[in-house]
């Protein structure tokens, strides 16, 4: 969409360029607006410190509002803040005294003077709201004229400009600066129950096609990191000439008997939901899946949302992670967004060139998400699985489900339909003992075993036994098939 005339600048703010539709259009007149504490000044500084060079000067006007001393104090905490650039590539100018004189002409005269002195290519005004408020006593026409003149001035000086202000959406609609602006970035921090989630929206970016909607972002020691909402890439699957499906490669689960039950292993690129009650061996089975990959030279990634690594790591898994063949995502950060989780996962998958991914567990993942995202968990999970499988990885997800003997369920989220394959683990009482059973419920597009088989976890690994000779295992009232055969009434 962008023409040759518009040169886009790379801001180096993770995720921002993608959000704006391919970078920051040079000489554009932009607004960063949002609620107090939403990260406007941090984003502005991050863009400025990234782009400013001796041959690409930046001018940062501070007005009333946050005292500059405090701004310097807090912004220096971020890794992007480079003291050496100040005075050489970046110049801070305080306009408070000019503004207190009370007319826009003196503010404009000062801005013009500084523009002439420094010939900046980047200009920031923080906060622009102060200028609006200071001019309240003047007529609206004066302010509109001032904004028009400022925008013209900046463009003719070939400067890319950012006005930073605390504005809320309703008041913004009536504000002339939002009409004049080429680009508008909205930043907010939304509180839902006890959690806080930061969001950003590119409401407008002339000449470019920004990614629509709200996107989550985080502020840490590195500054702002945006997690653009994952959008599914177009399906590029090419059907064969005779419309037949190509033969799909199968991956071994690391347990030969289970591979047999799945019809020859788990088809590559599938997502498998491993459902069972607490302690039924889901993580052990998922570890076997990863270990088998490593044996075959395929690296893997495990996202541990539930337990701390020390709790979770079996000796086997610990060795795989320590050996560098399996990457661990230990996400105990709260208030995650699905896109942040996906961002971390895809980055590690790409770094490790992983083929196998384990998400352990969906219950833990749901808890790690900020409450507002839990309401859309099914939709979030759908997007996550779709994006991951498009990367070509095969996924095993564990889900804890209490044994219920009055109904047959495969997940507590109604998400079973999202999985291409489902393996069910259960406890059952047989002969005065708690026994584990396993069965394959579904493998999309493939024949599979329908047996309910006993299984156990021994020192040497998972042992899958023969088909249980009982009926009613899933109802919690198993009766020996032998007994049933004997008690069956004989045909007359």
């Amino acid at each position: 969409m962008s023409s040759n005339i518009i040169h886009s600048l790379t801001t180096n703010v993770p995720g921002l360029d993608l959000l704006m539709g391919g970078g920051l259009p040079e000489f554009s007149f932009n607004i960063i607006a949002g609620t107090p504490g939403s990260g406007k000044t941090t984003l502005a500084h991050q863009i400025m410190f990234s782009l400013a060079k001796p041959e690409y000067q930046a001018l940062f006007f501070t007005v009333l509002g946050e005292p500059p001393l405090k701004m310097f104090r807090y912004q220096q905490q971020f890794s992007f803040f480079d003291v050496d650039k100040i005075g050489r590539s970046i110049h801070f100018v305080n306009l408070a005294d000019d503004l207190l004189k009370g007319d826009y002409d003196s503010v404009m005269a000062r801005i013009t003077q500084e523009m002439q002195d420094h010939a900046p290519r980047l200009v920031f005004v923080d906060s622009f709201r102060s200028i609006v408020q200071a001019g309240r006593e003047q007529s609206g026409t004066d302010f509109q004229l001032f904004v028009q003149r400022l925008a013209q001035q900046m463009t003719s000086w070939q400067a890319t400009t950012f006005l930073i202000g605390e504005h809320s959406f309703p008041e913004a609609q009536a504000n002339p600066i939002f009409t004049v602006a080429d680009g508008i970035l909205w930043m907010s921090q939304n509180v839902h129950r006890n959690s806080m989630v930061r969001k950003i929206q590119v409401a407008k970016m002339r000449g470019q096609a920004p990614t629509p909607g709200l996107h989550t972002f985080r502020i840490d020691a590195e500054g702002v990191t945006i997690f653009p909402r994952a959008v599914l890439p177009p399906d590029t699957t090419v059907q064969t000439a005779n419309n037949s499906f190509p033969e799909i490669e199968r991956l071994s689960m690391g347990v030969p008997a289970l591979d047999d039950m799945l019809g020859g292993g788990l088809p590559s690129g599938y997502s498998l939901l491993l459902v069972g009650p607490s302690g039924s061996g889901k993580t052990v089975l998922a570890t076997e899946f990863l270990a088998e990959g490593v044996r075959r030279g395929e690296s893997g990634v495990i996202a541990a949302f539930e337990k701390s690594p020390r709790q979770m790591l079996s000796r086997k898994l610990h060795a795989l992670i320590k050996g560098g063949q399996v990457g661990l995502i230990d996400t105990h950060a709260l208030d995650l967004s699905i896109d942040e989780a996906l961002h971390v996962l895809t980055a590690l998958i790409e770094k490790m060139k992983a083929k196998r991914v384990v998400i352990d567990s969906l219950s833990g993942f749901e808890l790690a998400l900020a409450p507002e995202f839990r309401e859309d968990f099914r939709e979030s999970l759908y997007r996550m699985i779709s994006v991951l499988t498009k990367l070509g990885v095969t996924i095993v997800m564990t889900a804890e489900l209490e044994d219920r003997y009055t109904d047959l369920r495969f997940s507590s989220y109604g998400t079973a339909f999202l999985a291409d394959a489902i393996v069910l683990q259960r406890y059952t009482e047989i002969g005065g003992q708690i026994n584990r059973v396993i069965s394959v419920v579904k493998v999309r597009g493939s024949a599979h075993s329908r047996d309910i088989r006993s299984f156990d976890i021994a020192d040497e690994g998972i042992k899958i036994g023969p088909r249980v000779q009982y009926e009613g295992v899933l109802s919690g009232r198993p009766i020996s098939s032998v007994f049933l055969d004997r008690s069956a009434p004989e045909n007359p």
Binding site: P68, L69, K70, Q76, V83, V93, N94
Partner: protein, 142 residues
């Protein structure tokens, strides 16, 4: 205040030493560009608050340094300083002037950090202290 950075101390000493004339004149010639430079960055409100605090702390050690409340011109704080210094002998005035610079920059450094404070000083005094006399090397224990 014990946060003084040795490099900054050296810079202040060099600037005061390089200045020609009476202690009061030297102080004024150093305060004027520093004031202009800082007001441009942090505004007159920010500068006035910092200067008033530093003056108060220095006044506790050198009680003869007192603002003349009668004057209200924009340059009055610096004029008051000049008047106070002129009334003392050179040695005493030098010590007090040095302490005021040090206290002021200590306060600034405690808020915005040592590197940025030193950078502002260097920039403001670029005409007063030749580049070759600006201590460049950071001390290992800084």
């Amino acid at each position: 205040m014990s946060t003084s950075n040795i490099r900054r101390q050296q810079l202040i000493k060099t600037a005061m030493m390089k200045g020609e004339g009476e202690v009061a004149d030297v102080a004024l010639r150093l305060w004027q560009p520093l004031t202009a430079h800082l007001i441009s960055i942090i505004g007159s409100g920010g500068f006035d608050a910092l200067y008033a605090r530093s003056f108060y702390l220095t006044h506790a050690v050198y009680p003869w340094m007192a603002p003349n409340n009668a004057s209200h011109s924009p340059n009055s704080p610096l004029m008051d300083l000049q008047n106070s210094l002129e009334r003392q002998n050179a040695d005493e005035a030098h010590k007090a002037s040095f302490m005021l610079f040090l206290t002021f920059t200590d306060t600034l450094a405690s808020l915005i950090g040592e590197p940025l404070t030193t950078s502002i000083l260097t920039s403001a005094w670029s005409d007063n202290v030749p580049e070759r006399d600006i201590p460049i090397k950071e001390f290992p224990h800084e």
